[in-house]
């Protein structure tokens, strides 16, 4: 047994060396047309050897190590506590959420312009993640092409504004509806596929949309994208220094204050905040409605759900359409915020990030998803040197979460339903 253990540990250590040394330790460098091989920094080699040693030691003492880990007193002081009473918890949760929203309302007036801009982006991600949470977390449909619907929303606004001069407020519902419609049309044929096939098909679909955006140059401008997307207006008031559209007035002149470019940024932020709150509330409501329960039932056991009279296609289609709808919503806001969009914003990686948010936050859990969206977007900005490692860490985190805590950091809690005794 011991010899066997040692052999295995040695094997694991060697594998560690093999998979890390050539890739990390020998760097290809292009010099003109030739490539040369240069060694990495000494610290890298030390790290590689250290990793192998750690793997070796861990494998040798694996059994006793796991044993100790099991016996450790639970570090979480809340773990042994009785779960909070349902009504109390619901109250607490709504207090927290209301607090966050109130804070979020006043916060932009206190901080720098860059922070507000970033916060708007966070809110867009929150909308996207809440929408994807319906599809993946509640309905259990792995959609890897979610970004396609985001693109539909953004491009709808961009194109309509370019060709018809439509305003943000008109484009918002149109973009969302069009994205929802796209979701429905795509979903109709593919939703009867098994889970993992569905994932690949949606991935393929997302790529097709991106390739089309890239190559249909006459309509979409190809890789150059579309610019000049108008900012939202407030009851016909524009936020620019000068009024662009006939009939509009300008915000700073109406209120007799000095022009400041922050106004527009803050206004956009507030719009995104309101829309994100609306998104969260609507989806929260859906979760307690028959349709929300049907989504979950289908995720839990499709055969049983069908045997009780649920139509698989109708239920899945509703989840897919609603998810796509909110992606379109977010897309319109995004287009307005950026003023310029190109296919580069809608690559698979973007889908993967949104998925990572949903997975980290806890599939199905709204609060978890919101917190994860904030964390995932802000952390790389806070630590610049860390941003390079962002995707590496996301990938690793997704794996670790699936292995250790597939329900996410803040798992979804069931709602408590009070029943009256029937006689």
């Amino acid at each position: 047994m011991a010899a066997n253990n040692l052999r295995h540990a040695l094997f694991c250590a060697i594998v560690t060396l093999i998979i890390s040394f050539p890739i990390l330790g020998l760097n290809l460098e292009a010099k003109g047309i030739n490539i040369t091989l240069t060694g990495a920094k000494t610290s890298t080699y030390v790290a590689i050897v250290l990793a192998a040693v750690v793997v070796f030691v861990f494998q040798i003492f694996r059994d006793s190590f796991m044993g100790v880990l099991g016996k450790l007193p639970n570090l979480n002081p809340l773990a042994g506590r009785e779960p909070m009473e349902q009504s109390k918890r619901v109250k607490l949760e709504s207090w927290i959420l209301t607090g966050i929203v109130i804070f979020a309302l006043f916060w932009p007036f206190l901080v720098s312009r860059g922070s507000v801009d970033l916060a708007t982006l966070v809110l867009i991600y929150i909308m996207l993640a809440l929408g994807l949470n319906v599809v993946v977390g509640l309905a259990g449909l792995l959609d890897l092409g979610y970004v396609a619907f985001y693109a539909v929303g953004a491009y709808t606004f961009a194109l309509l504004s370019q060709y018809t001069g439509i305003s943000f407020w008109m484009a918002l519902p149109i973009g969302a509806l069009l994205a929802g419609l796209t979701g429905m049309i795509l979903g109709f044929p593919v939703l009867r596929l098994r889970g993992d096939y569905l994932a690949i098909v949606t991935l393929g679909f997302g790529e097709i949309i991106r390739i089309l955006l890239n190559n249909w140059t006459t309509l979409t401008g190809g890789p150059n994208g579309i610019g000049g997307i108008p900012d939202p207006t407030l009851f016909g008031m524009e936020f620019g220094r000068r009024v662009k559209e006939e009939g509009n007035t300008s915000f700073h002149e109406t209120f007799g204050i000095a022009y400041a470019s922050e106004h527009k940024i803050i206004f956009l932020y507030l719009i995104a905040l309101v829309l994100a709150v609306i998104t969260a509330l609507i989806i929260r409501r859906f979760m307690r409605m028959p349709v929300g329960r049907a989504w979950e039932a289908l995720r839990e056991d499709e055969i049983a759900a069908r045997s009780l009279g649920l139509s698989r296609t109708a239920v899945k289609l509703s989840a897919f359409t609603i998810g796509a709808f909110f992606a379109g919503f977010a897309g319109t806001v995004f287009a307005s915020k950026q003023g310029f969009i190109s296919p580069e914003s809608f690559v698979f990686l973007e889908s993967a990030i949104i998925l990572a948010i949903v997975v980290l936050g806890g599939m199905g859990s709204q609060l978890g998803v919101i917190l994860a969206a904030i964390a995932v977007t802000i952390l790389p900005e806070l630590a610049r040197e860390f941003s390079e490692y962002r995707m590496l860490i996301f990938g690793a985190a997704m794996v670790l979460m699936m292995v250790w805590r597939p329900q996410g950091l803040l798992p979804m809690r069931r709602i408590h339903i009070k029943l009256n005794r029937q006689e």
Binding site: R293, E300, R306, S307, L308
Partner: protein
């Protein structure tokens, strides 16, 4: 009310069900028995629409239902349980019952979002029906537990309650007593009889527990290796030589 005529189901080269016929009248308990692998569950799967039978007819209240999608058959009033309990394990006990009442609810999303009176009324009615059946199967206290955390016998009862809230006309039970202890089996026995007597439901039952089958069945169909072997009252089946041979031969 249910008539299965010469039902056949072929998987590739394997004829799993061969010309099986059976009929169920109103307020009747009919059992399907037979050795393991005889094709009983396949018959159920054809009846409930999971499989499209390769031959024969299934008439429910005079209408042909073979090959119809499962959810439509279920909506007509033919509902089943499963050999291995299939609950929505991460949802609570009540939620399991609410899902089952989906078609009785106001599923219009707009009325749901607005919380119209009609929506709330129907939602409340569904809750009351759920409460009624939970009380009936003795699970009311556990209404807000996750279904997956129930004990096995409780899960079985929940599955039956989940069928009953759909207000079926015909209930198909696939080995409901499997894994139950004698006391639980006895309760189940009474429950099934009460479903027939008090709620006017017909029952088709697949079961290995012979005492249960002989006790509550009005009629029994025996199938062996996919073929019908015998049918009749419990008394007739008990004395049938072919049946005895099939069972002894298996043992």
């Amino acid at each position: 009310m249910l008539e299965v005529q010469k039902l056949s189901m072929r998987f590739g080269g394997l004829l799993a069900v061969d010309q099986v016929s059976l009929d169920v009248q109103e307020r009747e308990i009919v059992s399907i028995i037979g050795p393991n692998g005889a094709g009983k569950t396949t018959v159920f799967n054809c009846m409930s629409g999971f499989y499209k039978p390769t031959g024969g007819k299934i008439l429910f209240e005079g209408r042909e239902v073979q090959g119809k999608p499962d959810y439509k058959i279920s909506r007509m009033g033919m509902v089943r349980t499963f050999q291995h309990v299939r609950l929505f394990t991460q949802m609570t006990v009540v939620e399991n019952l609410l899902v089952a009442q989906h078609r009785h609810l106001n599923t219009n999303m707009i009325s749901g979002l607005l919380g119209t009176p009609n929506y709330r009324q129907r939602e409340q009615k569904a809750l009351d029906r759920a409460a009624y059946w939970l009380e009936r199967v003795g699970l009311l206290e556990l209404a807000n537990r996750d279904a997956g955390n129930l004990a096995y016998g409780q899960q079985r009862r929940l599955e039956i309650a989940r069928c009953m809230v759909t207000e079926p006309k015909l209930l198909m039970l696939d080995e409901p007593a499997a894994g139950l202890n004698p006391a639980e089996t006895k309760e189940l026995n009474q429950l099934i009889i009460s479903l027939k007597e008090d709620y006017n439901v017909s029952v088709v039952l697949i079961e290995h527990d012979m005492s249960l089958v002989m006790d509550i069945s009005d009629r029994i169909n025996v199938i062996n290796q996919g073929k019908p072997l015998a049918s009749g009252t419990p008394e007739e089946i008990r004395r049938n030589d072919d049946v005895i041979k099939a069972y002894l031969g298996e043992a």
